[in-house]
Symmetry: C2
């Protein structure tokens, strides 16, 4: 049984990462208004959030800039328009998706950028490519995390090899990413244990990015905190792909470090997130995500079901169940 002191006290090492623009951008093709982004930035500062992920550094050779909002590309000028010199305690992050980012060209030296942290997203089979992005980012002076996606589809023996390789790079944080929203707290405890073993060996930290397909995003994050995971991703109102993420407001209500403040988050949800929902932006737990999560599948079929405004959940269940 875990120590209750872990619930009542706090570890100063905990870092909160707001991923609203990045994971939420997958819901609305990154079309956020400047007003929204500015208020989000101010909210994160007021709430004591440690990092704000602005979006992706997506390859403009692969993705048409006319078909996405600017936070898919996170150009320096666009960032500066929101944050200026960012003379605050809030650090800024972008995601570099392995294979979909021209990092050598698009990621400039940290000394010239407002960005502090490069989040390298990779599947287990592209670890060598991830290492190249990590080394490039390290040479440019950034803090770096490596987010190993779809961990629930990955065997422990492969995870061990990957962490051993990543341990020898300049990466700062290993991230557990439950892309499928398939995991239960007991499994998180085991995966965290594995990640922490290599993190301790190589002097790294561990983070978690959870999805809410089975209403476990917050519970899995709380489990991870108790296990010694320090970096926690959240998004306001849980906005994110498919069933969405761990809600930042739940995390802010849960964490006991007095530097965190819930009130600005409530204000932001009230004034901005509820508006997005009213305007018809759709994300969050529903039956189709339960089904793909339970089957440990990528949510893409469930997202398609949602986009087509289908309501025949039982047909979808049969489609998904017979795919296996």
């Amino acid at each position: 049984m875990k120590e209750l002191s872990k619930l009542m006290g706090y570890r100063p090492d905990i870092k909160l990462v707001d991923a609203t623009l990045r994971d939420g951008g997958l819901v609305n093709d990154f079309y956020f208004t400047d007003e929204f982004v500015k208020k989000l930035y101010q909210t994160n500062i007021a709430a004591g959030v440690d990092y704000m992920e602005l979006g992706y550094k997506a390859s403009r050779a692969m993705f048409d800039e006319d078909k996405f909002g600017k936070w898919k590309f996170c150009k320096e000028d666009d960032i500066r328009q929101i944050v200026g010199e960012n003379d605050t305690d809030l650090k800024l992050a972008v995601m570099a998706d392995v294979g979909r980012c021209d990092y050598k060209k698009d990621i400039i030296d940290r000394s010239e950028s407002a960005i502090d942290l490069i989040r390298v997203a990779t599947y287990i089979n592209t670890i060598p490519a991830a290492v190249d992005v990590i080394e490039d980012a390290a040479n440019k002076g950034y803090e770096i995390s490596c987010n190993i996606m779809a961990i629930s589809n990955t065997q422990e023996s492969d995870i061990k090899v990957a962490l051993d390789v990543l341990g020898q790079t300049p990466v700062d944080v290993f991230y557990i990413v439950d892309s499928n929203g398939a995991l239960f707290p007991e499994q998180i405890a085991r995966i965290a244990d594995l990640f922490l073993e290599f993190a301790e060996k190589y002097g790294k930290k561990v983070g978690i990015h959870a999805h809410n397909n089975q209403q476990m995003a917050f519970a899995n994050t709380v489990e991870a905190v108790g296990d010694g995971v320090d970096w926690l991703d959240g998004t306001y109102s849980g906005m994110g792909r498919g069933a969405g993420n761990c809600a930042m407001e739940l995390l802010l209500g849960f964490l006991r470090n007095p530097k965190y403040n819930l009130y600005p988050a409530i204000r932001f949800v009230e004034s901005q997130m509820k508006k997005l929902i009213e305007e018809g932006t759709v994300w969050g737990y529903d039956l189709q995500y339960l089904i793909t999560g339970m089957m440990n599948q990528h949510p893409r079929t469930a997202i398609q079901f949602t986009k087509e405004n289908r309501k025949d959940y039982s047909e979808f269940y049969k489609e998904v169940a017979t795919q296996i």
Copy 2:
């Protein structure tokens, strides 16, 4: 760390209790159509659910029958109209709220009733009155659970006294009820441990009824399963007072006993629960419930906020925070 076998295997002792009509009835004053109730009954049978709670046995001296649907009173004739002789594996339950139930008169002998289980709901301060209801129900031949409400507001030393008293009655199941939706899995583990200690001493079982104020209803129920709790409450689409309950479809997707079937639950949610939502019946997680849950308060202020269709969450936060 818990055994993963608890996730992959199953305990035949697990009992699933559908509380949709009873806790969901608190949302719509028990006005369910007969068609809805019949389909719910058939769904529970097809899904392998063990018990269906039909509603309350509320005192007709205290509550006006014209102001509530029939499932607040669960008269024998109304039950029979749905279930006939109930010649099925599904057992039927009603809730007797201590102080709000004329149990001596309204609960007839089990031999003449379709009901199998009396669920006695009590706060910690009305345990002696609960004992009287329990003894009455035992004399009439029923299975009996005792649901200790608002457990998060109750000190362990008082819980111990209550369980010691209840252990000496003919009650079959002690229920942990997180009325405020305030608890985290680490706390559930401790409370379950306490309940199980007395359950083992007196040969009783333990159950859990969770609320979703902090998106922990399912996670807390999963935690309880791992701790040895056997009786699990769920409601379709999590329908229940305020933030609602643990969703039955999540439980059916999670439990590994082959007697449980998810598909009928998906069909029911698709055809019935989604319709209720479309028609404007409102329940489920939202900021106001996070706030009362986090503060370990009864959700009545949050329910009022919802009923008044208020959207000023930050004002509500201030109201609640200054009440303490």
